[in-house]
């Protein structure tokens, strides 16, 4: 889908790409520095140049590929679901974040350093490229602009990004919300599901709340006590149940509409639809409590 240049849709997609670039930017300078720290000075300079070049080249190839991959049936759905996980991970605070980088040991040769930098950038950039691909809605121009924005961030902009998010941490929350929104948009655009969504429009309402309720969990549970946190799983559980019932009803051709129910079988079906999640939720909370109780003596020991 090509958007008109400078239309509201185009500028909005570009803004989403910039935001995603900011919050999902990886620290390439740190990786290059860690990989090259034991190499001779002369080789270090070469590693920094070619490592940066390789990282940009890999990002460009991945961004081009993702446009074509997202056109294949099923990939939009997979990408959308992956974005929910990415948003959730983004909002979850990382303990000892500095120790969690991909590079465990410095390289001993130029080729080894280059390989490590390119592989690390490819691994770090997957989520970024996927999110940009989803936000660009198939527009090559937006992908190119996204690259033009992310490359300076890769090369020079790291300190600027850190200062910005340090001053305004709400940018990270907004980034998480935009990722969830992009994920939902990708799922409803999935060609395999488009006709099903057209027949079952109410599932879109359930899906959008489900996406936000899962993606933003770290945010809205941050100030809850340990006792009340498990109850938060009830909302996504109810929504998953409702979606599951809708899918089962369309697969087995069951009529599930309480306004049209006339026979006892239909009323039972409706009761299962609206209340069936209750025993499952109770079982989940009970199982969770048992697991915690079982773990406690081990932790003490």
């Amino acid at each position: 889908m090509e958007l008109d240049l400078l239309s509201a849709g185009f500028v909005s997609a570009l803004f989403a790409i910039v935001l995603i670039d900011l919050v999902l930017a990886g620290d390439n300078a740190l990786i290059i520095g860690l990989v090259a720290r034991n190499l001779p000075k002369n080789t270090q300079r070469k590693v920094i140049f070619w490592g940066t070049f390789g990282a940009i080249a890999v990002r460009a190839v991945m961004a081009t590929l993702v446009v074509y991959i997202l056109d294949l049936p099923g990939f939009m759905l997979a990408g959308g679901l992956a974005l929910v996980w990415i948003a959730r991970k983004l909002l979850t605070p990382e303990e000892d974040a500095a120790a969690n980088h991909a590079i465990k040991a410095p390289a001993t040769s130029f080729a080894g350093a280059l390989r490590t930098i390119v592989v690390a950038d490819a691994v770090m950039g997957v989520d970024n490229v996927l999110a940009i691909g989803g936000a660009a809605t198939g527009s090559i121009l937006l992908i190119v602009l996204g690259l033009a924005i992310s490359v300076p961030i890769i090369v020079w902009g790291s300190q600027l990004v850190i200062r910005l998010v340090d001053r305004f941490p709400s940018v990270v929350l907004l980034g998480g919300a935009v990722l969830a929104w992009t994920g939902y948009s990708m799922v409803v655009r999935e060609p395999l599901l488009a006709s099903w969504f057209a027949i079952h429009p109410s599932t879109k309402l359930v899906a959008v709340i489900l996406f936000f309720s899962i993606s933003l969990v770290p945010w809205y549970t941050a100030r809850l006590s340990a006792e009340t946190k498990p109850l938060v799983t009830l909302l996504p559980a109810v929504l998953v149940w409702l979606l599951g019932v809708e899918i089962a009803a369309s697969v087995w051709k069951l009529k599930a509409d309480y306004l049209l129910a006339t026979r006892s079988g239909e009323y039972i079906l409706e009761a299962v639809r609206w209340l069936g999640w209750l025993p499952l939720a109770a079982a989940w909370l009970w199982l969770r409590e048992r697991l915690i109780q079982r773990r406690q003596p081990v932790a003490r020991g």
Binding site: V23, A25, P169, V172
Partner: protein
Amino acid sequence: MLLIRHSNRANNAVRTTSVGGELFVASVVICMIVASFGDAVDPALFGEAGFEFAIFDFGGEFSVLAMRHWHLLQLLLAGAVLGVGLAVLRVGAATVMAALRPADRRAQEKVPIRL
């Protein structure tokens, strides 16, 4: 490692974001959900249901239909307006509640009376 993890405040954004920032993002999320409701609802349904139903459900469906196919920038603006509106309401409500609260019995005689 993500760049944002270098900043303790950004790494812990779920706890360090200001009340205003949280209100803004929460308002944007609400607008996103309402806009997607609008995308899911078929406007023809309202024609079938009739004007009476539409008036009865004024607050919900009319705003939902108005926000059909909104883009991110529109949602951000709407979120900002909603956030400011909620903040003003909160301040107003707090002022009214403070004015309605009776003075402490022990402090009644200490209330300054201007002659």
